[in-house]
């Protein structure tokens, strides 16, 4: 950090992304960063849980055991969430919504386990925003046809088309920046507390972890999924 944060003399404040390992590809130096490592850990946890869930559901019983109950609860919650917003379109999209919900939620709360949350890297959230953007426009062209899309762009009058196009392009950027900035602010705040108040940060930062990691992470996950579902439903409906 060079001169340290705000010249306070604390040299161990650290919340940036660090390179772990560099390699050359097509003449460019690329880095495997801490984000990739944390992402890999989160993915391994999700995959392990999913494999265990699949094994459990293969020999599912009429009276569910503890683990089967938990899996059914999660799936029912996610299906209910997408069903309440998307209505009849939810059948096709609930896999995607459930996947990003679990992924973003685990990424956001991974700060509790000492990782740097992968969603505090703009590369990750922007990729999620781009996926949503592609889904919105694919479905818009599929359901409303080219004519409907052009009519939607020239909404009040054709002269408003540039503003509408800018509005469409702003959707993935605002979606991804919202998630990124929320998680990043939590990471920075916790790093400042542990770095600047390291002598008296004994037990009470746990309360802040509950707010910044659990509460804020859960809310932002919910918001990301809700907005994704709303945009896709808007793109699917034809007037």
């Amino acid at each position: 950090m060079g001169r340290g944060i705000l010249l306070s003399g604390a040299a161990d404040i650290d919340f940036m992304v660090h390179g772990v390992f560099s390699y050359e590809l097509f003449g460019q130096t690329l880095w495997i960063t801490t984000t990739h490592v944390c992402l890999l850990i989160v993915m391994l946890v999700i995959m392990g849980f999913c494999i265990a869930a699949g094994r459990c559901m293969k020999k599912a019983s009429e009276v569910p055991g503890v683990f089967q109950n938990i899996v059914e609860l999660i799936v029912e919650m996610l299906d209910g969430m997408s069903g309440s917003v998307m209505g009849k379109y939810s059948v096709k999209f609930r896999n995607y919504i459930g996947t990003i919900f679990i992924f973003i939620f685990l990424s956001n709360i991974s700060g509790l386990f000492g990782l740097r949350p992968p969603t505090a890297d703009y590369g990750v959230t922007f990729a999620l925003g781009i996926i949503t953007f592609v889904l919105i426009h694919y479905n818009q062209f599929k359901y409303q046809k080219v004519r409907g899309v052009i009519q939607g762009l020239c909404d009040p009058w054709p002269i408003w088309a540039p503003i509408n196009i800018i509005g469409e392009l702003a959707v993935p950027i605002s979606l991804s920046l919202r998630l990124f900035a929320n998680v990043l602010s939590g990471v920075v705040m916790m790093a400042l507390i542990y770095g600047l108040l390291s002598k008296i940060a004994i037990i009470w930062p746990a309360a802040l972890h509950v707010y910044f990691d659990l509460f804020s992470g859960a809310i932002q996950t919910y918001v990301f999924c809700m907005l994704t579902m709303t945009y896709i439903t808007n793109a699917c409906t034809t007037e």
Partner: protein, 84 residues
Amino acid sequence: MEFNTNFILGCSAIGAGLAVIAGIGPGIGQGIAAGHAAAAVGRNPGAKSDVTSTMLLGQAVAETTGLYGLLIAMLLLFVKPLMP
């Protein structure tokens, strides 16, 4: 004109402070949303969970503009785009 790096650092810090003023707007907006939600729960206590989830969603969306200011402040302080 040649500027000292310390001068640029100081100006970046002032700019970061000014950018965080963007937090006023979301603060007012979230307060209004929470107040109306409290009134709604008072009028219809049965709908408490629906009102709460709607309020949280609206507040999280309203927060975005404040977060943009925060991002600008972070960029000015830590990425230092103005440094030569």
